[in-house]
């Protein structure tokens, strides 16, 4: 293996279309107008010495090494800052230029160590050699060679003695990251790079690594580069944290990972990174990694390390025994959005083919399942419509229930660039997120709604647009279903949807809604970005449809700069959904009831698929407590920590007889497991991840598997032991099977990915290199479908007993349940979950900043530290869920999205009280009664209350139930439910279901 080298053209590429010809050192060069002479020269193979310029940053012109002479012009301008012009005649080398360059370099060398700690990494010495000078004649009385290093950041050092004040770090912080943490302090000779007068760790620095990447010398250096040494080989792979899916060069020295360097050619990140992807990979080699399989008969027994074959046989035997005793549907599996498409595909195949049922679900259930449903209904496919680059073409950006600077930092940087170039921002969020006001960015509107009232706000916005003549009639007429639009327009224009009516629920002033609606509707290009603040609600699916309606009504679909863009939580949420992880869907979002689709798989796999949906995760828990579901294979998801209503989850897990956990580490779920199968980190995987922009990126093995095999092999071994032989030579072979069975992936192969770098699906005969923007000429479903989105308040309401609303989210440095980031130095930034409380709520309860508080909801209680802040409004409290000990999900309830059962994490009624004690053992609530029946009643009533239908909703309710419920659940709805608990619509729907049967 060799080092992958990405050339640096010194200045960014010109966006001009017209071409200019000029002569450089006698060679004729033709380049785009506005290209710098430096870049043009490099394209012609002429390398002009440079230090302060790099092609990720605007030209700066400070080092004065790149000086050139131009025929007919005075002086020696810098080639980085001078654009080409037609007929120009440039000389890059002459006696005079050599003298200037040597003179400048001599000055550099007069204040720089003769040898740098990073050796050849220091470009200064490289350029000096090229210029032909190695020492300085100056006496150098005053130097900066005795300045102290700043070692405060856990991942990189700042050694001012090596700093050449080229400003690349400062400019990267400004232009690439947009944080403005760095500056130059003092002027003249005393000018030094500074993290704004304090140490890096105490500064505003978010450790994205852009400055380290930009630094041409050893001034900003990864600590690992100093401890491990210079890398000797590199591999291009994809980050395994969030849904942005950044491409990295993993740089290795032997078997050791020296550093992760963001790839300039990376489609998602274009050379940028965040603290997690760039630095927080140490968990992969953490001593907590379990690399040997383990089994036990009971969860109270100690673990016993065994061989792979023993573990697989034990697991298979347990699962088979359950199926013999309780039926074929008594087991199932959960795929992971942290795993590759190939691993996910194989797991769902194992469930469908080897387990013989459709009880497969994915952790996307708890995050973006409403996106799948909502965008499927309106547009015809379950995915964001744009690529990330699109945001740079937006004029107005609507950001709903997402906090990109924390959760999708690399995308946030792009968004900030667009905003600083003049795009306007509308933030819809209960919290004052960073983008409401951050250096260089001020949101035009912050609609600070109460948690749970998203649909009220989106309806009010749409109402203003519909009733103020702001609908893009041309777009709607040409592209959307006329009947659905007509019905929607009538519905949304009703007074009940006016901002004035809905103000009481949402608490957003009507005038603000009206102003925001005008701003968005009148934008040339209006785009909508949203996160889990949209989906994780009782009306998550309704809200997604409301967003889709708004985009269609304003004509913001099908070109650059517009669109509906879910910001996916995990690295492969999109992929795990694409791969057929949902119990009702096969890969490519094709319903299991479709015989033509089933035939493809039946033929390919030599089996007979069940034609009815299997269980969703919460259904599995309910069924487990009911004794009908006894075996579970869960890969790479810590459901015991991440899923809501912990007591309910724990009770369900405890009720099972064979829980198989496959993961890197023992976790909360493995406490309830009987088999632990070690997993592989992304650094060991060979496959693909699909990010939020549908971009399929290669994940290449950087190091040998720590468990001696690939993760899909383990899955195949289990399937084989269950009686259905499965095996693949490699990840590429799995992708070939995906392509063969999935039309939207028909054109995808590892070979093509290696050639193109990445591919945005759909990739087929029509779009052989993928599809950056979807729905360009027509919607995937043909015509865009408007959906009625009645606002139905959640049942989770603030009461006298629980007067506050808790909402949850993430911070930049930690990731979800923290299994990875808690095992890195990232804890320095966030070492515990904190409860944000508004001053007035704290005052009322006698809560002091930094003190312990008891947080209780109707399902449980926990103890956390309080932080008094005005980032939350009065009546709302907020926390993160990164640490198991804080038990944020002990508080969250069983309520979920009516259509997809995505949990309502974002709204829980709670109360606070001061606590003299810190957190102790988790106190669980006793689960009583028949939770499965309760769920069935609640789900049915919720569907009936929310189903988008004006007349005869019962037909749609019946259809929805058939589409998404298991036959066993429908059975219980018929037979076991006390009919007085059901709404009239559900009762009518049951009659229809009976007729159907």
């Amino acid at each position: 293996m060799t080092m992958i080298f990405e050339p640096d053209f010194g200045t960014p590429a010109s966006e001009k279309l017209d071409q200019v010809s000029l002569e450089i050192d006698g060679r004729t060069v033709t380049v785009a107008a506005d290209t710098s002479i430096m870049r043009a020269a490099l394209q012609a193979g002429i390398d002009i010495p440079k230090l302060c310029s790099t092609d990720r940053l605007k030209a700066f012109g400070s080092c004065r090494l790149c000086v050139i002479q131009i025929d007919g012009r005075n002086g020696t301008p810098s080639s980085c800052t001078t654009p080409v012009s037609e007929g120009m005649n440039v000389i890059t080398h002459s006696e005079k230029l050599d003298r200037i360059r040597k003179g400048v370099m001599e000055l550099y060398l007069s204040d720089h160590p003769l040898e740098c700690a990073t050796g050849d990494e220091c470009e200064l010495h490289g350029v000096a050699k090229k210029i032909g000078i190695t020492t300085s004649r100056y006496a150098s009385v005053d130097t900066h060679l005795d300045l102290e290093k700043d070692e405060s950041n856990p991942y990189f050092t700042f050694d001012s003695t090596e700093c050449i004040v080229c400003n690349r770090c400062v400019r990267a912080c400004d232009e690439v990251q947009g944080t403005f943490a760095l500056t130059i302090e003092n002027r003249g000779f005393q000018a030094r790079v500074s993290s704004s007068g304090t140490s890096f760790i105490e500064s505003e620095c978010v450790s994205c690594g852009a400055c380290v990447q930009a630094c041409p010398t050893g001034a900003l250096t990864e600590k690992t580069l100093l401890t491990i040494g210079a890398p000797t080989s590199s591999v291009i792979t994809t980050c395994a944290y969030c849904g942005v899916g950044c491409s990295f060069k993993a740089e290795m020295r032997g078997d050791e990972l020296v550093r992760m360097v963001p790839l300039k050619a990376g489609g998602a990140n274009e050379g940028h990174s965040c603290v997690k992807g760039r630095f927080a990979y140490g968990y992969a080699t953490h001593s907590d990694r379990i690399t040997q399989p383990m089994i036990r008969n009971a969860i109270t027994d100690p673990w016993k390390e065994v061989s792979w074959s023993e573990a697989i046989s034990f697991a298979a035997a347990g699962l088979k025994k359950i199926q013999v005793e309780s039926g074929i549907n008594a087991i199932g599996g959960i795929t992971s959005s942290r795993c590759t498409n190939e691993e996910v595909f194989v797991v769902q195949k194992m469930v469908r083919a080897a387990f013989g049922n459709n009880n497969v679900d994915t952790c996307a259930r708890v995050c973006h399942s409403p996106t799948g449903y909502g965008l499927g209904q309106t547009f015809g496919t379950s995915a964001g419509t744009q690529d990330f680059e699109s945001v740079e073409h937006s004029d107005v950006i609507m950001l709903i229930g997402a906090n990109p600077t924390s959760a999708h930092p690399v995308f946030a940087s792009r968004m900030k660039q667009a905003l600083r170039k003049g795009a306007q921002l509308i933030v819809i969020d209960p919290r004052v997120i960073a983008l409401v006001r951050t250096p260089g960015v001020v949101a035009a509107h912050h609609l600070q709604l109460m948690p749970g009232t998203n649909v009220a706000v989106i309806n009010a916005l749409a109402h203003v647009i519909a009733t103020n003549g702001l609908i893009d009639r041309d777009f709607v007429d040409a592209r959307c279903d006329a009947q659905s639009f007509k019905e929607w327009e009538a519905f949304i224009s009703l007074p009940e949807n006016s901002p004035e009516t809905l103000e009481a629920s949402s608490r957003v002033p009507a005038a603000q809604i009206r102003a925001a609606a005008h701003l968005f509707a009148q934008a040339k290009n209006g785009s909508i970005y949203y996160g889990l603040g949209v989906t994780e609600h009782s009306q998550g699916s309704t809200m997604v449809m409301g967003i889709a309606n708004l985009a269609m009504a304003t004509g913001n679909i099908g070109r650059k700069g517009v669109g509906v863009n879910p910001l996916r939580g995990q690295n492969n949420v999109q992929g795990s959904c694409d791969m057929g992880s949902f119990p009702h869907e096969l890969s490519g979002y094709r319903h299991i009831s479709n015989p033509r689709t089933r035939k493809i798989f039946n033929d390919a796999w030599g089996i007979q698929l069940q034609s009815e949906p299997g269980m969703r995760i919460p259904n599995m828990f309910d069924a487990a407590i009911a004794g009908q579901y006894r075996g579970l294979y869960v890969q790479g998801e810590d459901i015991a920590q991440s899923d809501p209503n912990t007591s309910h989850v724990h009770t369900a897990l405890r009720a099972m007889d064979m829980v198989i956990v496959q993961d890197l580490f023992l976790n909360e779920t493995s406490k309830f497991a009987h088999v632990f199968l070690p997993g592989t980190s992304f650094l060991e995987k060979d496959g693909t991840f699909t990010n939020a922009e549908r971009r399929i990126n290669r994940v290449r093995p950087v190091m040998k598997s720590k468990i001696g095999k690939s993760e899909f092999e383990v899955t195949c071994d289990l399937a084989t032991a269950m009686g259905y032989p499965m095996s693949y030579e490699n990840g590429a072979a799995i992708m070939d099977e995906i392509a063969l069975t999935t039309p939207t992936f028909a054109g995808v192969s590892f070979a093509k990915l290696d050639e193109l770098g990445s591919i945005q699906w759909p990739c087929d005969e029509t779009n052989p290199t993928g599809t950056p923007t979807m729905h360009v000429e027509k919607f995937v479903r043909g015509e865009g479908q408007f959906m009625r989105t009645a606002y139905v308040p959640t049942d989770e309401k603030a009461t006298r007993k629980f007067p506050l609303l808790l909402t949850t989210g993430r911070v930049l440095s930690q990731y979800n349940v923290g299994a990875q980031t808690r095992r890195t130095a990232n804890n320095i930034w966030h070492k515990e979950d904190i409860l944000d409380v508004h001053e007035s709520d704290a005052e009322l309860r006698g809560i002091k900043d930094g003190s312990w508080v008891k947080l209780s909801s109707r399902v449980g209680e926990t103890i956390m530290k309080a932080h008094i802040t005005d980032e939350v409004p009065a009546g709302v409290v907020y926390t993160t869920f990164h640490f198991p000990e804080s038990g944020a999900n002990i508080i969250t309830t069983e309520f979920s999205d009516w259509a997809t059962n995505c949990p309502e994490y974002k709204v829980t009624a709670v109360e606070l009280a001061p606590s003299i004690m810190g957190p102790g053992d988790m106190v669980e609530t006793h689960i009583m009664g028949d939770p499965q029946l309760d769920s069935i009643v609640r789900m049915a009533n919720q569907i009936a209350a929310n189903i988008p239908a004006a007349d005869a909703p019962e037909i749609k309710v019946a259809h929805h139930i058939v589409q998404f419920w298991t036959p066993a659940m429908i059975e219980r709805l018929h037979n076991d439910v006390n009919k007085t608990d059901l709404s009239p619509t559900v009762l009518k729907a049951i009659e229809i279901l009976l007729v159907r049967n």
Binding site: S78, T81, P83, V104, L107, V165, R187, A191
Partner: protein
């Protein structure tokens, strides 16, 4: 009865306020006008009395002299040891070509009426009748060049801004007068601020700008308040605002105050500073005329440049360009400072000799010791020797003589000066004031000072002189802006014109 006691900082710094107070105390019925200084600084405080035959001057007056002035019946031009006679007859003033400074010292700087009474607003009124093109043609025709130091043709700059299409444009007046030995901007703003305002309005109309900014240094508090007062008056009288003199033209001016950095007088660093950023030089292109303040087309002109425009419009380009020589047309406001007997403002047509300025106007050194060196053009200007006194003071001749005009500051040194120390000071000044962006200026200036220090101490003198000359070339050709590029001027001129100071021999 009007008595004039200058209220500008040049006069008040030596007690003009106390003089005015003493006069008022003695006769409260007198109308005391706080005019600007006439620029004859050695006569301050110069008290003038308005008489039927014209203004009669007394000076320099101290508060202690006031009683005796009344005793001498100075209100009626009575005889007194300080009596100077009719102001207009004082040769030092009468022999000057006061165009830019025509009203300074004469008018009440806070009175628009007084301003108009002395020919103010004539230029603007004429401009309002012309097309934008015609205004620019007139300015181009006059040959007016930028008085900030670079001498760039004003008409050409305005035309570029005018032709750059944008709804928003700026007029930025550079009043960050930081050169040692210069004070003309300050005296003009304190003595005749409406001229600057009128010049900016004409510029705005010519290029299609609606916003003006005067970047004034914090060291000029009197100028800041004088200009703000004048801006308020101008707004109240529709010289500024949304309907300039009843037309549809719109223009207003804000003052931005500098924070003490010399390099912020460099036009692009000034823009950064106005934008609220560190005062760091920008690379050009793009030139500010196309992408200036906040990325918008911007005229950047010095106070003296803009303040000359009203006269050009009022009296025509031909009148203006009748002054001067060659391509240096019109007048230059020279400022005599340093070790000089008669310091102050000397506005003369280009072509006056250095000798005339130093001896005729300056009357030699203040110390009375022989003259040794003259630095022309601020801290980055060349040191001239007595052998060069016949140099014609115009852009081209100075360039030929190895110097530059700069902002017109002339600092005089007697025989006690050590030019090696002065050369070292030039480098130290650069090291202290450099913005720190480009390498030649940032590191070079410090290394330059260190190297000259070695020469002074007699360490490897020849080697270090060679190194110093190499450094000067790198700074001249390699620096990003004039700060680093011009610092070698005083150094090299000192080495060439005063080689005896660079031998390393003990002094």
């Amino acid at each position: 009865m009007r008595v004039f006691v200058p209220g500008d900082s040049a006069a008040t710094s030596i007690g003009a306020d106390e003089v005015a107070q003493a006069i008022a105390l003695h006769d409260p019925s007198l109308e005391i006008v706080r005019n600007g200084s006439r620029g004859a600084l050695w006569l301050e405080t110069l008290v003038e009395v308005e008489t039927p035959t014209g203004r009669i001057g007394y000076g320099p007056v101290t508060p202690d002299d006031v009683e005796s002035l009344f005793d001498a019946d100075f209100l009626k031009a009575g005889a007194h040891p300080l009596l100077l006679g009719k102001i207009d007859a004082i040769e030092w003033l009468a022999s000057q070509d006061r165009i830019t400074f025509a009203r300074v010292g004469i008018v009440d700087p806070s009175s628009l009426i007084d301003y108009e009474a002395h020919g103010g607003l004539v230029g603007l009124r004429k401009a309002l009748l012309l097309t934008r093109e015609e205004i620019i043609d007139e300015v181009t025709e006059s040959g007016l060049r930028g008085r900030g130091g670079a001498g760039f043709p004003v008409g050409l700059k305005w035309r570029t801004v005018s032709q750059t299409i944008n709804a928003e444009k700026y007029i930025c007046c550079n009043a960050d007068e930081g050169d040692s030995g210069t004070f003309a901007d300050r005296m003009l703003i304190e003595g005749d601020p409406f001229t600057l305002i009128e010049g900016m309005v004409i510029a705005a109309i010519a290029v299609g700008a609606t916003k003006g900014i005067v970047y004034l240094r914090s060291e000029y508090p009197h100028a800041i308040s004088a200009l703000q007062r004048a801006i308020n008056v101008a707004r109240a009288n529709s010289v500024l605002g949304s309907q300039i003199l009843g037309t549809s033209y719109e223009f207003d001016i804000q003052i931005r105050i500098g924070a003490g950095s010399y390099v912020c007088g460099e036009e692009t660093a000034m823009l950064e500073s106005i934008e609220g950023k560190r005062g760091v030089v920008r690379a050009k292109p793009p030139v500010p005329a196309i992408e200036g303040l906040f990325g918008l087309p911007t005229v950047i002109n010095n106070v003296l440049t803009l303040s000359t425009v009203p006269m050009i419009l009022a009296e025509g380009a031909k009148t203006y360009k009748a002054f001067g020589v060659g391509r240096s047309l019109g007048t230059q406001v020279f400022q005599l400072a340093g070790n000089v007997a008669r310091g102050g403002i000397v506005e003369k047509a280009f072509g006056v000799t250095l000798n005339e300025l130093v001896h005729t106007y300056g009357a030699g050194t203040l110390s009375g010791r022989p003259l040794r060196a003259v630095q022309i053009g601020g801290p980055l200007g060349s040191y001239f020797s007595t052998a060069q006194l016949e140099t014609s003071m115009d852009y081209e001749s100075l360039l030929t003589a190895g110097g530059m005009l700069g902002h017109g500051g002339i600092v005089i040194f007697d025989e006690s000066v050590d030019l090696a120390e002065q050369a070292k000071f030039a480098m130290e000044f650069c090291a202290f004031e450099s913005c720190g962006k480009c390498t030649p200026c940032r590191i070079g200036s410090t290394r330059g000072a260190e190297t000259i220090d070695l020469i002074i101490r007699g360490v490897k003198v020849d080697e270090n002189k060679k190194l110093l000359l190499d450094l000067c070339e790198v700074m001249t050709d390699g620096s990003l802006c004039a700060m680093g590029a011009l610092t070698p001027l005083p150094v090299k001129s000192a080495m060439i014109n005063f080689p005896e100071d660079f031998t390393g021999a003990p002094k």
